[in-house]
Symmetry: none
Subunit: 219 residues, 4 copies
DNA sequence: GGCTAACCGAGACGGTACGTCGTGTCTTCCC
DNA sequence: GGGAAGACACGACGTACCGTCTCGGTTAGCC
């Protein structure tokens, strides 16, 4: 009748002796242990099973220790995510549609395989009722969009995109698509389909080599 | 993170006598009362304060009555949302970009002004840790995308879109954009910017009046 | 602590069509079905699993039908017990200690094997907080005691018991012992031990063939 | 059958501020408050109205706090009972029949006057559908029987009882008698009648001053 | 032979309690 | 003063059963 605790309490794998205070300052070992535990809990039990209690149990830490350094779930999640995201560098193939296909494909793939999607999805969820997380997410969106906008800008400079197009808009469409796939749990996608979508975006913003009215009819 | 309780128990406003069973069938009065209560709780206390208990208290209903008809929080939220959004009928202007601008603009506006944005955001959050809601949201996304895909299909039939384009892809881009704006708390948007984005989508899928190579190799 | 439900819904074994009303009077079939169901539920799931709901499910009867004819759990239990108890007749061996050993042994054995002990234990439990059941139990105790007192009286008439002994007291000791064993879940007992106990009772009440001071010291 | 609620929420009488944790160990104030609340609820609303919820409300304690220290209703009831019964010390009068008369008389009297009879009855009822309580009651029975068996043993040592008699049997008869009186709601008893019964038990186990065949065949 | 009355099944309803989980705060003891 | 530990009040979770109610359908007895 008791709770299923068997996931967290098992596998301390290394240390059996609890960490102690190292004096009147933050113990980096403890911080590390908590962040690791948070990540593991998230990956194994998902956002639904992600609780301060579970993290504390797993990290062999006291709850007050967590609350001392983080303001709550959202705060902790954000730091976990920041730690976990690798910094992809993407090659410039000279073709924006290919660049985007590569980028979004890699992103979805990463979310699919590493269960890191779980982490990010949790943050998005948290952001829906936590002001701090919400701001962080909005900022992060802009950051990612602007990163992609950089690709688009380069494409624009080499003439792939029409000069009057804001590269940010192109970027937003691509990033929105990816994020949406994530939180509607539809990260599976074929490369062909993905390329088709990215092409729509790029073509829609493309420089016209012939006289194509940018909109058929001005209403 | 805990919810304020002082809001629900006050305000019975009308009836004090509890509703009774009306036989071996669902009581529409009860259903109505529960949905109303759910909406009110959500608006007053937000997603954080939204609990089945609070709804039951407010509706003067038994918890089992709620669980009899809805599978949980997410299910209830979804129905509240469906009830709250009016059923817009969108005119067919003959120009898909305009149709989409109108549609997405109305949608974002609706989320901005009414509290329905909050409701839907709550659903999205719920979907991240509740399987049932997740499925419902995925279904709902497909439903909305297909509704928009209908517009795109009509445009395709009248020659606005290239015949080899899947209208669903066009629709997904538009809907993803809107949803993303919602859950990144960026529902504010100028009409011009919105139109520019919708045009990128539509033009990207547009029938070419001439053979324009938009990507180096058509595989 | 809650009862398993998987037992009742299975096995309707015979009738699938529900019984109908036979007019403005009690349907004996229904009564029979409810009492049978009550007994079965009690035997299979014990007092813990005995609920009006379970009985109604099992009997394919409506709850109000049960409440129409019985005032509640205790009422129903009592009728079930009255129906179920066989009327043992015990031979008169000419030796009261043997008679009692036989009687109590049979009783404990019956409770042990038939699970009818379950039923009686449930009634005893119910009697602790239900006035009506309590009275019925008290009456029933007197009834059983007096039945045993009958044996003792015969023994007294043939000179086995001292003439100044109230046979009821002898009977109460024997019956108390048995009932107590039941509700402390200690119905298992060896025949030798049982005989030893019954002998204590009988000897204690026996006619003295020699001058034995009935109590060593009159304080 | 439902319990009245209007009793517990009223009457906070003293403290309004909830007790706090006093560190990583049991708070004796809390324990005290819970036991008191349990006793009060039982006395005011009876076993039917005795619920963990009611106790928690009354004690201004969290339900989990109760479940942390007691395994359930029965466990709590048992401790309340143990607390409520004083620890009588019984004089050794040198006459076992008198000792038992005194003991059982005191016991029945205690059950009659204090509400402790009701408490103990509740425990017995609980034991019929709760495994944990059942074990506890069985243990408690053995404990009480052995306490009485101690008296009998002393009597045996001084020659009052036959050497081949198990004092436990004598004790069981006496305790069974008392318990049975309790749960058949027949605690009223005259001292003479009680003494007569105890004498039967003691005489039945008494050392015979001569070889007196009291039953045809000594096995 | 239609009307009424009561029965019966079904199951919804407002409730209360169950036993578990997580929250964020607290205190104590050890370093 | 940091950190582990865990108790504490609180409140939500989802389920079970309570006893009452209304329904639709049935049958019997009365007018």
């Amino acid at each position: 009748m008791h709770a299923p605790r068997f996931l967290e309490t098992v596998m301390q794998e290394g240390e059996n002796k609890p960490r102690r205070s190292i004096g009147a300052r933050r113990n980096p070992e403890t911080e590390e242990a908590i962040l690791n535990a948070a990540q593991e809990v998230l990956q194994e039990a998902g956002y639904a099973g992600f609780s301060i209690e579970a993290v504390a149990r797993r990290a062999r830490a006291g709850k007050p220790t967590i609350y001392r350094w983080w303001r709550g779930k959202g705060d902790l999640l954000l730091e976990v995510y920041r730690r976990s995201k690798g910094n992809f560098r993407f090659p410039d193939t000279g073709d924006l549609a290919e660049d985007l296909t590569l980028f979004v494909g890699k992103l979805l793939g990463h979310w699919r395989t590493n269960r890191s999607g779980q982490i990010f999805r949790s943050i998005l969820a948290e952001a829906q009722h936590d002001e701090i997380t919400a701001e962080a997410v909005a900022d992060y969106f802009v950051d990612r969009r602007d990163y992609v906008a950089g690709m688009a800008e380069r494409a624009q400079r080499r003439g792939e995109l029409a000069p009057d197009i804001d590269p940010k808009l192109v970027a937003e469409l691509a990033v929105s698509f990816a994020w949406n796939r994530l939180f509607t749990h539809r990260c599976e996608i074929g490369e062909d389909e993905l390329r088709a979508i990215m092409r729509i975006i790029v073509h829609g913003a493309a420089a016209k080599s012939a006289a194509i009215p940018s909109s058929p009819a001005r209403r």
